[in-house]
Symmetry: C2
Subunit: 222 residues, 2 copies
C-alpha cells in the first residue's frame, strides 16, 4: 500500500513586501517576555534586537516552570529572568497578578508570549491593553489550543503554519498580525513538522513585534 | 489613519513535486459534474481533459438553477447537460435521488462538485462511495460553509486558500486531497480575493481529480 497523496501549493513565494518593513522608531520597545519551554523565540527576539532588525530591549524574561530551558538561555544571553512557578499560586488570576507586578517593576510596555503555556486572565489583559502578543503554531482559526501541530497532522490538512496575534481572553483569538504557511509533507512526523514551523516562527515573530508597535493604533482605529 | 498591516509569508514556493504528478491510467475517468454557478471549474476540467493533463471524460453536467451560467458554458463546450431544479423537488433527498439516477444513466463513476451550492444527503454519498469530490474556497478546517471568502476576509486572517476534498455528510468535511494557500492583501476586496483563490482552484482541481482516482485506494486503505 502506498502512502496517501499529500499536496500543498502556494500562490506566492513571499509576501513580506518592502513597504511592510517596519520603519525604525526612536524609542526602543520595552519587552517583557513570557516563556514556558525552551525559549527559542526568546533567543530569536534577542538576536533581532542585536542585529538592529528590531528596535527594542528585553526588560525581563518570566518563566513558570523551574525546569524550563529558557532559564539557562536567558542566563547565557545576559537577560534579567524571573521564575513565577504557577504551582505556587492559588489561581490563574493570582499568577497573572504577580506577572503584572513583575512586568511593571521591570518597566515592560509590551508583553510577548514566546511559548507561554498558561491560559491568561483578564488581570493580565487589563494591565496591558492591546500590548500582548502570542505566537501559535497553526494557521488560526484552525487548530487553536494545545498540540496544534499534532492536531493539524492528524486532521489530514496539507498546509499549516504559524500565527502571531494580539491576545484576547479566549484562547488563541485576537487580531492577527502575521501568518506564515508551512506545507505538510508526505510521511511527516510531528517533530519534523514542528521544526519547520519553528523556522517560520523565528522569521515572523520579531517582524510582528515591530509591526504591532507601529500599526496597532491603525488596527484598533485610534 | 493608515490601514492595518496585512502580512502573510510562505515557506515554499510550490509543492507539487514531480513524483506527485499523476501517471496516465488506461481508462478515462467518467465524470459527472455538479454546478450551481458560472461553472468556471467545469471549463477548467474540460480544458485539462482536452490538453491531456487529465485522462477523463465529462459524461454530464448537472445544474440546479435555471439561470446558472454553467448551462451556456456546457452548451458551448459541447457537453451533455441536465437541469434538476431543486425548487421542483420535495426534499433534499428527492433531489439527490434524481441526481443519482441521472449520473447512473450517464454512466458517471465520479461525482465532481464544481461549485455545487446544495447540501448533499446520504443518498448521493451511498450511491458513489468515496467517489465524490468538492472544492471549497478556504483552507479547511477554517471557514467551512457559505461565504467562505467573506468569512476569511472579515476574520482578519492573512492567509486563506482553497481545498479539494472527498465529500462526507458533514458540510465541507472529508479527507483532503490538495490545498493551495493564497495571501490576503492590504485593502483586499472579497471580489479580488475570490478571483485570486479561483486561479488556484483552477490549478489544483484537475490535478486533485487525477490524484484521487490514483490514490483513493491508498487513502482508504483498500
Amino acid at each position: 500500500m502506498t502512502e496517501p497523496t499529500v499536496l500543498a501549493t502556494f500562490a506566492t513565494p513571499s509576501l513580506v513586501a518592502p513597504d511592510h518593513q517596519p520603519a525604525p522608531s526612536s524609542n526602543p520597545l520595552r519587552l517583557g517576555l513570557l516563556a514556558s519551554g525552551s525559549g527559542s523565540n526568546v533567543e530569536v527576539i534577542a538576536q533581532a534586537i542585536a542585529s538592529g532588525q528590531l528596535n527594542a530591549q528585553i526588560q525581563v524574561v518570566i518563566y513558570n516552570n523551574p525546569t524550563a530551558k529558557v532559564a539557562e538561555r536567558a542566563e547565557r544571553l545576559g537577560l534579567a529572568k524571573l521564575l513565577l512557578n504557577h504551582r505556587e499560586f492559588a489561581s490563574r488570576a493570582a499568577l497573572d497578578q504577580a506577572i503584572v507586578a513583575a512586568l511593571k517593576a521591570h518597566q515592560a510596555d509590551w508583553v510577548i508570549m514566546a511559548g507561554w503555556m498558561r491560559i491568561v486572565t483578564q488581570d493580565l489583559i487589563d494591565a496591558f491593553p492591546r500590548r500582548i502578543l502570542n505566537i501559535h503554531p497553526s494557521l488560526l482559526p484552525s487548530f487553536p489550543g494545545a498540540n496544534a501541530v499534532e492536531q493539524a497532522l492528524k486532521s489530514g490538512v496539507k498546509i499549516t503554519g504559524c500565527t502571531v496575534h494580539y491576545v484576547e481572553l479566549a484562547v488563541d483569538s485576537g487580531p492577527i498580525i502575521i501568518q506564515a504557511a508551512v506545507p505538510i509533507l508526505p510521511n511527516d512526523t510531528s517533530e519534523a513538522l514542528h521544526q519547520r514551523i519553528q523556522v517560520q516562527e523565528h522569521r515572523i515573530f520579531p517582524l510582528a513585534i515591530a509591526l504591532a508597535a507601529q500599526s496597532d493604533a491603525a488596527i484598533y482605529g485610534e
